[in-house]
């Protein structure tokens, strides 16, 4: 077997150590690589028509060409809204609504508007609930840059006056903002606010194949959470991004404010019971799968691609998870030593799933790795398997046997589909 040639845009030790420990050889991005860990900025070049580049069967790369459909805040929201609307039109039970007109099962992103495009819609909504706080985020930026909180319309007007030097140019991605309802009842642990960073690996969108990483973590604010309005300016209270928290005085370099998901589960199960915490983690899986289904139709499902996303989720005090955003290029710099170990394993486990074991990359491979190659990933959803299951159930139904998935309505069906994730 010839040795695998890899290229990477990152000079990160977790990547290089991983590849070198496998005996791979580093080559440039322009050379004949088999495995390319690219930055999002270079992915456009690789797939652009002008580059004249055609990927071979033995080449894989870590991004889908138009991943922005999921990873840019405004596009993700747009896609999820459309997904829900489509399901509703179909009369799909998943799109069922509750008394207050909210989606009963697909209400997993905070209410969001695009600015400036949806400004009028937003104002209408704002007037309905004038006492809510909203969070403004620029679409094209990450790591908490350019984020601010709004609880008065005047703040927004001021922003738009300051921003619009020239009102004739149409807004570019950099100038579009999304404004979302701020989750003002976050679950607090030890009195502190946190969000979840989960790693989700997608090896194919059609059929959808998703893996969830077990070693996700909670990111804690170093400052006590205080919902009062005079704290609105203290971004440390509200934002859990490590890059923001790092600037705070109380940042601790030993743990970096990171707490493992296992610890979260231990805490929730101990204090709130098993059923409740099981449900929370089921809901998180549910949300992940449907956020991906929402974009599955629009992503160009190139066989050479896989992608490891960083899902940012906030849990509110009713233990309902909210999807805040999805990152295409979750940070691979290690802030602490356990962070380094975790990220090293993450990359290692990703490689084991996307490349046939002991072989060179091959896009004709059916992308069904052996269970023992999952590492710390769990198979969350495999559309092929789920469909096979469904077919089995249809057969049962035809044969007059009771269908366990349909009994008890939608919740049961939900459970049925979750069972296939495992």
């Amino acid at each position: 077997m010839s040795r695998i040639k890899f290229a990477t845009d990152f000079d990160k030790s977790v990547l290089l150590n991983n590849f070198e420990n496998r005996g791979w050889i580093q080559v440039g991005a322009e050379d004949d690589w088999n495995f390319y860990w690219a930055g999002v900025h270079n992915i456009r070049n690789v797939f652009s028509v002008d580059s004249g580049f055609r990927l071979q069967d033995d080449q894989v790369i870590n991004h889908f060409p138009n991943h922005v459909e999921l990873t840019r805040k405004d596009l993700m929201v747009k896609n999820i809204k459309r997904y829900r609307k489509d399901l509703e039109k179909e009369g799909n039970p998943l799109a069922e609504k509750d008394e207050s007109g909210r989606f009963a099962h697909l209400d997993f992103i905070p209410q969001t508007f695009m600015l400036p495009a949806d400004y009028n819609l937003f104002v209408e909504e704002f007037r309905k609930n004038p006492n809510t706080t909203w969070i403004m985020k620029p679409c094209g930026k990450a790591r908490g840059i350019g984020i601010f909180l709004v609880n008065k319309l005047s703040q927004l007007k001021k922003w738009s006056r300051d921003g619009k030097g020239n009102s004739f140019t149409p807004p570019t991605a950099k100038e579009t903002y999304v404004i979302s309802k701020y989750i003002d009842n976050p679950l607090l642990i030890g009195g502190k606010k946190f969000d979840l960073r989960l790693y989700v690996l997608v090896t194919s969108f059609r059929p959808l194949k998703v893996y969830m990483y077990r070693l996700g973590f909670c990111r804690f604010c170093t400052v006590k959470y205080n919902a009062s309005l005079n704290e609105l300016d203290n971004m440390f209270v509200h934002l859990t991004n490590v890059s923001i928290q790092k600037q705070g005085d109380d940042y601790n370099a030993i743990h970096g404010g990171k707490w493992t998901v296992q610890n979260l589960r231990l805490f929730l199960e101990s204090t709130r019971g098993k059923d409740v915490s099981d449900k929370l983690f089921d809901d998180i899986n549910w949300l992940t799968v449907h956020s991906l289904k929402a974009v599955a139709g629009v992503i160009s499902n190139d066989r050479h691609c896989f992608e490891c996303y960083g899902y940012d989720i906030i849990i509110d005090d009713n233990l309902k998870p909210w999807l805040i955003e999805v990152n295409a290029s979750p940070s691979l710099s290690a802030t602490t030593s356990s962070d380094r170990i975790m990220k090293y394993r993450l990359i290692s486990d990703v490689v084991n799933i996307v490349i046939p074991p002991g072989d060179i990359p091959d896009v004709r491979w059916n992308k069904v790795p052996d269970k023992e190659n999952y590492g710390h990933f769990d198979l969350l959803y495999d559309e092929e398997l789920a469909n096979a299951d469904q077919a089995g159930q249809d057969l049962r139904a035809k044969a007059g046997l009771p269908n366990p998935a349909l009994r008890g309505g939608i919740r049961e069906q939900r459970k049925g589909s979750q069972a296939t994730w495992k």
Partner: protein
């Protein structure tokens, strides 16, 4: 009638073991019950039963008894008596009499060693005060009290002694100058230097009776066989929570039945049953409740008020120990990736704990004596002596870790507080006082050395030869009951067994198991630092398989 009812319950719960001295004990128990609030509630309930119209006068006694029984009084009284007996030193329940001093510690040389140690601690505390020119205690001005009240749930940010000055300038005690009064290493020296003056076997070089280990005092500790019997419920043939309920094992095999049984146990609310059930480990979602039941912590209005009162004491006075506790949390839990989120909870438990005079009660069983301090200018005048700190416990480096794992169980600070207090007064105090008690740190250390010598003589000899006495590494594990050394879920599984078997002896067993488990690497080390490095990271260890290995594999 009441007496008859109680006697029955007591005899039941003691299951006949009190035959020798039932009267003496009965009197004690009755006295205890009469003075408890439970007694009043019982009378009220009895009154209510008696007033029921359905009751016939001729069957008054029977009717009331039945009524009380079905209202759950049976169980309440049994629990109360059980917890009372648990809280008594064994010698007391056995009817052995002695001076209070002897009850605390029967061996004179051990008593002396503890006394000398206390003096040393106190001296170091006093010299810290002098050096930093801060008083042991001072009353907080009104403004400062208010400020602290506002910051109560976020003391981690600025600390207890912090004060916003009138000019807006912040002032606080320089924490870098505060250092822990003692660390496990210092205390190990005390334990190691303990000598029995009546025992003259040490010193003859070449004689066979020189102990291999560091502990030089002769004390009786259990053999592996005795421990096997004691922990027979943990045998490999018995399914255990923490091994057989992991997510990759089908729930039908064990978990489902276990959960069902657990629910039944919880609803019975009977401490001995909860304890028995926990011998095979507590399911995560039931642990908080099981521990509360085993320890007899059932919060009522009075407990909440009591905690509020302690909090008020904290606000009123600034004590030097607050800074010690604060510093300890900062040095341990704040830097711990498992516990840092609970930092503020720890202050809300530890600071009131230092003011809680109920803790003083445990000194009747503790070889230690609460330190005394004198009001300024009245040094040595007994009438002006006060216990310092009010609970009599001077924290050492790592003290906060006794609380930290329990933060995973109780979201409510008050519940957390009372469970911790019970745990401390029943178990943890033994881990940092010199005593000959079989549960004391000296016996546990000796048990560790004996077991390791018996089970892994080759390893023990090798480590001893390269100048690395195993106890030097294991002592801090024992002293902190492994908190902060294992993954949090594993510490809780370990403490399940401590509670269930009502014994700390599981700690040395685990320490031996860890040495055994890392034997191959330990046999290669030639320096103390290398050995320490082999045993530095225990976070990947699974406690139960290790314990089973150590107890039952040979």
């Amino acid at each position: 009638m009441l007496r008859a009812f109680l006697v029955e319950s007591i005899l039941d719960s003691k299951m006949g073991s009190v035959e020798q001295q039932p009267d003496n004990l009965l009197v004690n128990v009755l006295q205890f019950l009469r003075s408890s609030t439970l007694f009043n509630d019982l009378l009220i309930s009895a009154q209510e039963e008696a007033q029921k119209t359905s009751l016939r006068i001729s069957e008054l006694k029977k009717g009331v008894q039945n009524g009380l029984g079905s209202a759950g009084w049976d169980r309440k009284l049994r629990n109360a008596i059980y917890h009372f007996l648990q809280s008594q030193p064994k010698s007391m329940t056995n009817g052995i009499l002695g001076s209070p001093e002897q009850l605390k510690e029967p061996l004179t040389y051990v008593r002396k060693a503890q006394l000398a140690w206390e003096k040393k601690i106190l001296k170091s505390l006093n010299s810290m005060c002098t050096e930093l020119t801060i008083p042991l205690a001072r009353r907080r001005p009104e403004r400062e009290q208010k400020d602290m009240m506002v910051r109560w749930t976020e003391l981690g940010v600025d600390g207890p002694a912090f004060m916003r000055g009138s000019s807006g300038i912040c002032r606080g005690i320089d924490l870098s100058q505060i250092r822990p009064v003692y660390a496990p290493k210092d205390f190990l020296e005390v334990v190691v230097s303990l000598q029995n003056p009546n025992c003259n076997s040490c010193g003859n070089v070449g004689s066979f009776d020189v102990p291999w280990g560091l502990i030089q005092v002769p004390m009786k500790v259990k053999t592996l066989n005795e421990l096997r019997l004691q922990y027979s419920d943990m045998a490999i043939t018995q399914c255990q929570t923490g091994v057989d309920d992991l997510s990759d094992i089908p729930a039908e095999l064990f978990d489902n039945e276990r959960t069902k049984l657990g629910r039944k146990v919880l609803s019975s609310k009977h401490a001995p049953i909860s304890r028995e059930f926990s011998k095979k480990g507590c399911p995560v979602s039931m642990r908080a409740e099981l521990w509360s039941q085993i320890l007899g912590v059932e919060l009522d209005q009075v407990d909440h008020l009591y905690y509020e009162q302690l909090k008020a004491y904290v606000l009123q006075h600034d004590l030097l120990v607050d800074n010690l506790l604060y510093k300890d949390v900062k040095l341990t839990a704040t830097n711990d990736d498992q516990y840092f989120v609970f930092e503020d909870f720890l202050y809300q438990v530890l600071l009131p704990f230092s003011r809680d005079t109920v803790v003083l009660k445990h000194f009747t069983q503790n070889s230690a004596t609460p330190p005394k301090s004198y009001i300024r200018g009245k040094l040595g005048v007994e009438e002006f002596a006060v216990t310092y700190p009010p609970n009599g416990v001077i924290p050492f480096h790592g003290f906060a870790m006794y609380v930290a794992p329990m933060c995973y169980l109780y979201d409510d600070v008050v519940q957390l507080y009372f469970v911790f207090r019970k745990m401390y007064m029943h178990f943890f105090f033994r881990l940092h006082s010199v005593s000959s008690h079989p549960q004391g740190i000296v016996s546990l250390s000796l048990l560790f050395e004996h077991l390791l010598q018996a089970e892994e003589p080759e390893l023990f000899y090798h480590l001893k030869q390269v100048g690395c006495q195993p106890l030097k590494i294991a002592f801090k594990w024992l002293m902190r009951a492994f908190s902060g050394f294992l993954a949090s879920d594993q510490v809780l599984l370990l403490w399940d067994r401590v509670l269930a078997y009502d014994s700390l002896e599981i700690l040395p067993v685990l320490a031996v198991a860890i040495f055994s488990f890392r034997k191959t690497n330990l046999m290669r080390v030639t320096t103390f630092n290398a050995a320490e490095a082999v045993l530095a990271d225990l976070f990947t260890l699974q406690v139960l398989p290790l314990l089973q290995l150590a107890l039952f594999s040979k």
